[in-house]
Symmetry: C2
Subunit: 379 residues, 2 copies
């Protein structure tokens, strides 16, 4: 059986967890939490990183930080994970869904502006498959309408956007706030885990408080106050240092991980190119302004029936390939709250995207087998 | 240096984490999450256990499950951790704080009834130091006024309440919902971690959904629906299976851990009894209806000055002893929202409680040293 995903050990996870325990502190903000945060701040130039228990929690922190209140509107793609929306719904926001691009499941940046009202507070671009949205367009809208941008960078570690100024900026460093995931399907992972990135200075102090259950405990530990207490709303967003220790072992190998994932991605692309040439399947598009972090290899089928048939063919060869999101504007929870606009591209990706197995330990033989089954299926 | 707390390894944590990775799934609800949940359900007769990333998150799940909306009132002690309150404040609740007992920091059950209004939705007893509140009184009020009871059992693993019927019931099994903590200071721990216990059948189905980001994914994995989608609000409350694997190694040793902690607790008690006999300090009281799970050993000093002096004396002998909560009704965040009632016992515990080092690996020599410093200090 070739699974869709397989977590792996780089080798030092156990050793680092042991070190964390020896340090005498494995609750949140221990030595490995700081090591992970430092790594991301230095490598990608993020102003401040705060590990969280999940990307969902990082998005919830973002919703608290930008002070979402009932009635506020937040614009995001319908083709995304439920947490992108739920984090803002929990604070009472109305979600205004926009459609995906025709060439890519990411949000169609040109459809955002007409959705902006005087209640709009934020735009949440989702960098699908780690491929950047056009952040020039989105940041320009945010500046003109005085909106916040929260990047859902769940899949976007080690990926870049190059704007009109020619500068390649890491995804997660462009919006006011950004959220990353270290869920086990991600390039760098800890089973469950996430990170909030703060690029706008105004949020730094309150983020520490909200993450520490609404207390000024971080200030206390820095000696800036002589006792700490309840000063704001908040939650427990800190992961155990066991998670951070595990994550750090992965982070140290990010170069090797990214190299291998890119190889896998390129093999898929090259072997399946003939099918795309004949118009039988669609292959991922990486716009000129984006890079490919090899988070995911997906193909698009012409319709739901074709996808279902290919999933079955792969399954009969013991290969697990999986579809992805269902349009949130048509979900049982949100359909009646949606404004009724059709979002045909989102619905198309709902029916037609198929994700192929993608993980570090996927072998060249596995790749031959998978691509062989697909080529045969259409032969 | 004798720290206040020291996490320790039972020996199999690394092995179980390795097993979790080999299983191919270390995201939430993996094999060790199920093992932990099964353990608690069987050992303590909890109807349903769901691991969470923290006790805070378990309390937040409880607030979502009982449908707290703005304006609802929730009664709880002022002398508690900030999360007890924050979890409900995040949903818009007004917190109505009650005072502590004179003999114990737990809520004074006899002061609850006058605080109940037609807006009251829930009572949240906190089993301070793992010592039960009088659950007969609390459950009786809940039944008469149609309120929910959410036990904050953060510190209360492996502790019991014996009611008028003479039956010893595990804490966490009595309220409609209960929340446990596996923070590193707890008897059984994973750095950060928690668990929601569901004792009222009506919450079972929705709890699964809320914990899975508002989706019916659990039903999907059981084959009860053919795809899963967004059906409700929710968040990502599931911990990584790495956390569960670590926790399971601790759980397996619960008997040994509890035995050693009880020994430590009893040594403290016996050595300090003469000081209590002279009225110099107060020792913990365990009411007849409660058991002592040896979560914490605290003493009470006559006033803040006496406590500060003893902390300093211990510190000069390289012993870390720490105070505990600050009355939430006087916190910067809540003081202006509180109704102005004085809660003198809560304020007294704020000033006078001192917690002594308590952890599995605390040696008999350490105990001699700590109690020696305290006895000398008052000689």
């Amino acid at each position: 059986m070739i699974p869709f995903n397989k977590p792996f050990l780089t080798g030092k996870e156990g050793h680092y967890i042991y070190q964390a325990v020896l340090s005498g502190k494995i609750s949140g903000d221990g030595i490995f939490t700081k090591k992970c945060q430092d790594f991301f701040e230095k490598k990608y130039g993020f102003q401040k990183c705060l590990l969280t228990t999940s990307c969902t929690d990082a998005l919830e922190m973002a919703a608290l930080l930008i002070n979402i209140v009932p009635g506020d509107e937040v614009i995001m793609p319908s083709y995304t994970f439920v947490s992108t929306a739920n984090a803002f719904v929990l604070r009472g926001a109305k979600i205004v869904f926009c459609d995906s691009r025709t060439d890519h499941p990411g949000m169609d940046e040109d459809t955002i502006e007409p959705l902006i009202t005087d209640k709009t507070r934020a735009i949440v671009p989702v960098h699908y498959a780690g491929v950047a949205c056009d952040m020039d367009k989105i940041m320009d809208l945010a500046a003109r309408y005085n909106l916040y941008v929260v990047e859902d960078a769940a899949q976007a570690v080690d990926s870049y956007f190059t704007g009109k100024d020619g500068v390649a900026r890491p995804l997660g460093s462009i919006g006011h706030l950004s959220a990353f995931s270290f869920h086990e399907t991600k390039n760098i992972m800890a089973g469950e885990g996430g990170m909030l990135v703060i690029n706008d200075h105004q949020f730094l102090e309150r983020a520490e408080i909200i993450r520490e259950k609404g207390t000024n405990r971080s200030k206390f530990f820095r000696g800036e106050v002589d006792k700490y207490g309840w000063v704001d709303i908040g939650s427990s967003f800190l992961p155990s240092d066991i998670i951070a220790a595990f994550l750090y072992a992965q982070i140290e190998n990010i170069g090797d991980i990214q190299r291998r994932r890119s190889e896998i991605w390129n093999v898929y692309y090259e072997k399946l190119l003939p099918l795309a040439g004949k118009g039988i399947i669609g292959l991922p598009v990486v716009p000129d302004f984006a890079t490919n972090n090899a988070h995911m290899f997906y193909i698009t089928l012409p319709d739901l029936q074709a996808r279902t048939a290919l999933i079955a063919a792969l399954k009969s060869s013991e290969i697990s390939a999986v579809f992805h999101y269902l349009s949130l504007h048509k979900s049982p929870y949100y359909e009646s709250k949606h404004d009724g606009r059709e979002l045909p591209e989102s619905d198309r990706y709902t029916d037609c995207v198929l994700r192929l197995p993608m993980y570090y330990e996927l072998s060249d033989n596995d790749l031959d087998l998978i691509t062989g089954v697909i080529l045969n299926h259409f032969a």
